[in-house]
Each structure stands twice: as structure tokens, then as C-alpha cells.
Symmetry: C2
Subunit: 255 residues, 2 copies
């Protein structure tokens, strides 16, 4: 998974935490050994790592699939390299799940259906759509995990930030898409529609996950004690949507 | 690429080189710097590494595809791990091509059509067919490259043998296939037919490559000076076919 450009979301969240949010300092200042004493926190982290692991595995499959659409052997190799990088992230996360006594397959299972459905609804019809999807999907996922990272214990946070580290793949996608739009401006309109559809499907699946996974959702809004506030989830989604809009503009696409 | 069990072919070839073959000691005793002075040898090695690189890239894609058919998340992860290992082999070979001043994409290009055609003709229809294909395909490729390795300069030989190193993947396939046949013996008949078809298609494509690539084919039969002998190529193919038959028997399949 990649971080195409620094997301502004976590800074926002740190600079101006909304009044409803408990200060994240509590758990964020702890390590896993201390934080995991709370069974609800443990369940939330298992969910989070399960979702992240399945996301990486699923990104691996998607990129490997897109490699088939590559116009040149060099492009095919570049996509295969990205796929392989996602797989190594997947391995780091599943090792971590095993280390905290969670079964990786069980932890991933609840997220398989929403992610598979997202990919089914957004199968790219050509190479450029595949690139835009990889770029947009990775960026949204990175924004989301950065939002969450500030609420995690130090050990889990360091893993999450490590697997989101920019591997230079985003710039590959951006260069190719920009060049294609310059060569044929009409392509921009089609890809802008495509990016909008990706965002819509991503939000639909994310809302489904939020509705299903209580422990995870409660953690997302910064509290495990008082249940969660749908308005706060809505704010997080809109921060992520705004970051997406800025990224699309940078790419030369109206979002 | 994997070496499911030690192939006997190279030992045969070393123990009883046929009378027509010049002793391989000449080039095999040299390093790349010395051997590459012969432009025909250089062309043959470029071809060989190009074929091997495309084979690895194509194995990456095939395994990533098969991961979709996996019955469990653990199986899916195991296939993704194999795919990623093939990709790392691919990277080693393309780095080597670059080091010897060959363009990897150009070196691979002549082998893309035969390999793509092979995969098109042998798309597995289920998980077990995919496993048998990965096992059979890797084993045949490993046999072939071991046959060739004895004729290579020391530097190229060490790379070729390194990327054929057993990564433990074959035993994964063998275990799963054996268990499936034990659970339902009829499956064995279907998979035996499938393995026969794989071998037939592999030989058809290999013969196409032999007919097209003079420098490579000449090297395969151990001589770059006198042109090549189709009978010798035939012998190599039959050694590889025999090894395949033994492997299928070990798997519980009549070949």
C-alpha cells in the first residue's frame, strides 16, 4: 500500500480534535502489552489488522491482474513489482497477527466479502483504469489508516505506518495517467467519471464495514467506552473524500 | 521456479555425453568475461535469460491468477507467496540481463508469444488443475534449465541454478493433490489427462522456440560451431518427458 502524497487528515485530527473525541494520548502512549489488556481494544486491533491484511492480499491480486493489461513488458514488470511489494506487506501483517495470538485467516474473514465486492464492482476495463484504481485505492486506504494510526498503541502504529510507506508506486501511476491525458485530453473525462465511481463504491463498502464491526468502529472515532458516534465517522469520511478530491485535481481530473 | 525433486537429466548428460556433443568443459570452465567474447554464445545466453525471465514473469501471473481459485485464505496466501518468489527470480534475471548490456524487454520479447500461447491453451479450470500445472510446469522448466546449465559459463550457470532453487512450493502442490486424490480417487484420472495435455502443449511450444531461435538451439545441443542436430534436441526432450512420467507416478497419476 502506498502513500502517494502526505495526507493532511492526521494533522487535522491532531491539531483540532473535535470536542466529542477523547484525547488519543491514552492508548497512543502505550505499547501493545499495556493496551491489549482491554479486550475491546484487542478485538479492534485484530479487526484492523485483518482488514489491512486482506486489503494487501486483495491489492496483490488486483495488481497482478492489471499486469495483464500492461501495454509493454516493462509496464508489466512494474505492476508485478508493486504486487510483490503488497504481498510483503501482507506477510508482515499476518506475522503480527500471529504474534498477538490471532488467527490471520479468521481476522481477515469479515473483510473478504466487502473488499471482494468492491473489486467486483470496479473491475478496470483497461490499463489506465487499472492505474487510476491502484492509485486512488491505495491513497484512500493510506488516508484511512493514517486517521486510525493516531489512536493505536505504539507497536501497532509502527507496523501500520511501515506497511503504508511509500514504495514509489504512486508516482508510476501518476506519470502514466498524466501522459495519457496529455496525449488525448478526452481520456481525462472518462477517467474522472471512473475515479468518482471508485470513491462511491469504496464509501459504500466502508459504511457496510462500519455498520458490522462494532469494536473497530468505536475505535475509529477515538473511544472504546462510550460507543461510537456516526457523525464522527461521517466527518472522517468527508476528510478522506476531500483529500481524494485534491489528489484528483493534481492528476488533472475533476473529482 | 522450483525443483520438486532432483532431476536425473543433468547427471545423465554428464555421465554419458553422446558422441556428437563437443565436451561442455570448454565454456563451462570459463567465466562470463571469457565466454562472452563469442558473439553467438552471447546471443544464446541473452535468449536463454530472456526465456527464463519471461517464464518467471508469466509464472508470477499464473500463480496470482490461481490464488483466486484457492479454497481457503491460507491457500490463497500460499499461492501469493509463490507468485512473489517467482517475481524475485524474475528481478534477478533482468538485473543480470542489464548487467550484460542486454535490454530485458527485448530479450524476453521472442518468448512472450509461445509462453502466452501455452498458458492460453492450458488455463486451469479449478484449483487442483492449477496446482498440477504449477508443479508440472515448474518441474519441466527446472529439468530443461538443468540440462542447459552444464553448457553455461560459471557466472550464468550460478544464476540459473540459483533461480531454480527449491523454495518448498512443490511439496505444497504435491500434498494438496495427493490428499484430493485420496479423498476422491476419480480425481486422479481427470488430473492425469490434464498433466498429459500440459506436457503436450509444453513440447509443442518448446519445439516452436527451437525452430525459431538458432543460437539458443545450437547451444542446447552443446555446440555453437557446427550448427545443431535435431536428433540431439529430440533426445533432450525425451529425457525431460521421462522425468515427467516418473514425477506423475510419484504423484499417484498415470502419465
Amino acid at each position: 500500500m502506498e502513500t502517494p502524497e502526505p495526507s493532511e487528515a492526521p494533522e487535522d485530527a491532531e491539531a483540532a480534535p473535535s470536542a466529542e473525541q477523547p484525547a488519543p494520548a491514552g492508548i497512543a502512549a502505550q505499547d501493545w502489552a499495556a493496551a491489549s489488556a482491554d479486550p475491546q481494544y484487542r478485538a479492534a486491533v485484530t479487526d484492523l489488522l485483518g482488514a489491512l491484511a486482506y486489503g494487501e492480499l486483495s491489492a496483490f491480486e488486483r495488481l497482478a491482474d492489471d499486469a495483464k493489461l500492461a501495454p509493454t513488458l516493462a509496464d508489466k514488470a512494474a505492476l508485478a513489482r508493486m504486487a510483490s511489494a503488497e504481498f510483503h506487506h501482507f506477510e508482515q501483517i499476518t506475522e503480527r497477527l500471529t504474534m498477538i495470538d490471532a488467527d490471520p485467516a479468521e481476522a481477515m474473514a469479515p473483510f473478504a466479502a466487502p473488499l471482494d465486492e468492491f473489486h467486483r464492482m470496479t473491475a478496470p476495463s483497461d490499463w489506465l483504469e487499472g492505474l487510476v484504481k491502484a492509485y486512488v485505492g491505495d491513497a484512500i486506504a493510506a488516508d484511512f489508516y493514517r486517521e486510525v494510526a493516531v489512536r493505536l498503541d505504539a507497536d501497532t502504529r509502527s507496523l501500520v505506518l511501515r506497511v503504508l510507506d511509500d514504495t514509489g508506486h504512486a508516482s508510476f501511476a501518476v506519470d502514466k495517467v498524466r501522459a495519457a491525458i496529455e496525449a488525448e485530453p478526452r481520456v481525462g473525462g472518462r477517467l474522472a467519471l471512473w475515479a468518482r465511481r471508485l470513491m462511491g463504491e469504496a464509501l459504500a463498502q466502508a459504511q457496510r464495514v462500519v455498520a458490522d464491526r462494532d469494536a473497530l468502529s468505536t475505535m475509529l472515532v477515538g473511544g472504546v467506552a462510550d460507543g461510537f458516534d456516526l457523525a464522527e465517522i461521517g466527518k472522517m469520511f468527508s476528510r478522506i473524500t476531500e483529500a481524494h478530491t485534491r489528489r484528483m485535481a493534481a492528476l488533472g481530473l475533476a473529482a
